[in-house]
């Protein structure tokens, strides 16, 4: 696995997270949630440290990270854009909204724009089906998004 140098401070914070869960291997998912909150993603080096701290194999950690869609091994953009592709959003044209984001940002799903500002992902239902189609930028929810409205959303974060 490729090495990314973690700063001493971050390294200590990560170890503190593991300690706060008593280094219990059953708490792996909770640890990963916290770690992703800290780093924004879960690079190989972070996984190696967690494996060591919880006394499990790196393969085990990697297996869990790749199993759940919430965990990611690639850094997200400054403004992560998630397009809901749940059924309610889909029947109201979320696929067209997604296409428009791809076109405007010139990236595919799972990618981050070259300037690091935007990343694009899909998610399955945020439970706001009444507002379908729904797009999330960071924590902010946009409801009833039409393909025409996409450029305005992107423009909000461009500068």
């Amino acid at each position: 696995m490729a090495k990314i140098k973690l700063s001493e401070k971050k390294l200590q914070e990560l170890k503190d997270i593991c300690t706060s869960f008593n280094h219990e291997k059953g708490e792996l998912i909770n640890v990963l949630h916290k770690a992703q909150g800290l780093f924004g993603y879960l690079p190989a080096e972070v996984q190696e440290i967690i494996a060591k701290e919880l006394n499990v194999s790196v393969a085990h950690v990697y297996g869990v990270v790749t199993f759940y869609s919430f965990f990611t091994m690639t850094p997200k953009g400054e403004h992560p854009i998630s397009v809901c592709l749940g059924t309610a959003c889909y029947v109201r044209g979320a696929d067209k909204v997604l296409e428009e984001f791809k076109r405007i940002l010139n990236i595919q799903v799972g990618e981050t724009s070259a300037d690091g500002k935007f990343s694009l992902s899909c998610l399955r239902c945020v439970g706001a089906c009444g507002l379908a189609p729904v797009v999330m930028v960071g924590e902010k929810v946009y409801g009833r998004v039409s393909p025409d409205g996409v450029k305005d959303i992107v423009a909000e974060y461009r500068n």
């Binding site: 792996l28 759940y68 029947v91």
Partner: protein, 487 residues
């Protein structure tokens, strides 16, 4: 949306302030827990739940009382009760609403569940994507502890019960009990063969009772009002009410709660206010990715677990998505299969490989390359996957395909034989054509075509080369004379 509705699970949602335990108590909150702890034996309390006829609201529809009883009978030093709040069905959000609007009802029911089954520990497995629900639940747990409804020696009866929260991380299969339990143990959320059932060997190999949020929300009311009252609502085999999440092309989207036995027509046209913009009803999808698409002729069947299964769909967790003529049913089936392929955990081959092959067949058909044999293959493979998959995910994943094949076969036929998509959804089957009568030869379309597929002399009718056309629709958008149409 009040008429024809009856709110049991959602009784407090939007009525009380979920962050104030006092308001919950004012509405008979924790009365049921007090009654169970001080007046009833675990057996007697379970008997009430059994007789009420309450069935699992997560989709399976197993008798809740029976499940509790099985867990109670197993002898062990430690048992667990689990609340499944990993609402993964796209299009369903009732669990989130209950946890956000009435978290105490779930806490109270879990404590009752703990007393009945002999468990002193409860775990809530909740989606990390629901931050507000998590926050409200945490506040409610803290208040319940302060008031003595959680912790040690509850209400002076010597009964101990505490609750912990575990976070899901986005895996649909974790709605399945055994997968959920593995996920709580910090493992990949893969299901295992039952038996042993979680009631015998679940979390950390201890007897574990798993119930869904909505199921729990019903429990305190049943204890308070009696099983006779609850059993008096609904149909012969499905008692009480069910919450549905209405979405799609319907006027009034949102959560509704109706007695079992209400018809789909009443739900969609009376409560839901019919379709948007006066569109024509085409189908309603119930049961999420495990359910099926029902059509006009099914609208008058009374909704209950067994009727929906007989009609080729299922109750599921209660998503109800209404579709109109603009939705292509083959594409809808493909959409669900894409979901299943992505969410299949990959442990058993019928689900991992079978669903992928089903998806490819549907891609072939929507891509205009389907053959008559493909339709047979779709059906046969669907049955194989249903019969041989390990868990509920695979056993139900072909339902969207089978139900659309059954109810909308004509559309499949058109895709395969006529190479047509009547809803103009499948791009490969669309053809942009210029009506020579209407075209005045202004050349606007030709100038806007990104691939130079349009040719023609100025002031003469133009022509689109179907080989070059990428079906972007730019020409149709630009034409001021409405001369371009889709065939």
């Amino acid at each position: 949306m009040a008429k024809k509705q009856l709110r049991i699970a959602l009784r407090n949602c939007g009525v009380i302030d979920p962050e104030r335990i006092e308001e919950y108590i004012e509405r008979d909150g924790y009365l049921a827990l007090g009654k169970v702890l001080t007046e009833l034996s675990p057996e007697a309390a379970i008997e009430i739940i059994k007789k009420s006829g309450l069935r699992g609201r997560g989709g399976g529809g197993f008798s809740t009382g029976l499940k509790w009883d099985i867990t109670r009978r197993v002898k062990a030093d430690q048992k667990y009760v689990v609340c499944n709040a990993d609402e993964g069905d796209p299009g369903a959000f009732m669990d989130r609403s209950v946890l956000e609007g009435d978290p105490h009802s779930v806490i109270e029911a879990m404590a009752i569940n703990g007393y009945c089954t002999g468990a002193s520990k409860g775990l809530v497995y909740i989606r990390a994507e629901y931050p507000l629900a998590i926050e409200r639940l945490k506040i409610a747990m803290k208040q319940a502890s302060e008031w003595g409804f959680l912790g040690t020696n509850i209400l002076g009866t010597g009964f101990n019960f505490e609750i912990e929260i575990r976070y899901g991380a986005g895996a649909f299969v974790c709605g399945e009990e055994t997968a959920l339990i593995h996920s709580m143990e910090g493992l990949r959320g893969e299901p295992t063969v039952k038996p042993p059932f979680p009631s015998e060997s679940g979390y950390l190999e201890k007897p574990t009772n798993v119930n869904n949020v909505e199921t729990y929300a019903n429990v305190p009311v049943i204890i308070n009002k009696g099983w006779e009252w609850f059993a008096g609502i609904g149909t012969e085999k499905s008692k009480g009410t069910k919450v549905f999440a209405l979405a799609g092309k319907i006027n009034k989207v949102g959560l509704i709660e109706v007695p079992m036995g209400t018809t789909l027509r009443e739900v969609i046209f009376e409560i839901g206010g019919g379709l948007q913009d006066g569109a024509t009803f085409k189908a309603v999808q119930t049961g999420g990715p495990s359910g099926g698409c029902l059509m006009e002729k099914h609208l008058d069947i009374p909704i209950d677990y067994d009727n929906l299964i007989a009609a080729g769909s299922m109750m599921g967790s209660g998503g109800m998505i209404v579709m109109d003529d603009a939705n292509c049913m083959v594409s809808i089936a493909k959409f669900y299969l894409e979901f299943t392929v992505e969410e299949s955990c990959g442990k058993c081959s019928p689900c991992r490989i079978g669903n992928k092959r089903l998806f490819e067949l549907l891609e072939k058909i929507t891509g205009g390359n389907g053959t008559p044999e493909d339709l047979d293959k779709l059906r046969n493979l669907s049955h194989v996957i249903k019969d041989t998959s390990l868990c509920g995910l695979g056993q139900t994943s072909p339902n969207p395909v089978l139900s659309t094949l059954e109810n909308f076969y004509e559309e499949y036929r058109e895709h395969v034989f006529d190479k047509k998509c009547r809803s103009s959804v499948c791009k490969s089957l669309m053809m942009y054509i210029i009506d020579a009568e209407k075209c005045i030869g202004c050349t606007l379309c030709a100038r806007n075509c990104p691939v130079n597929a349009i040719t023609g002399e100025r002031k003469l009718a133009h022509y689109i080369d179907p080989e070059k056309c990428i079906k972007c629709g730019a020409c149709m958008e630009k034409c001021k004379f409405g001369a371009i149409f889709i065939n």
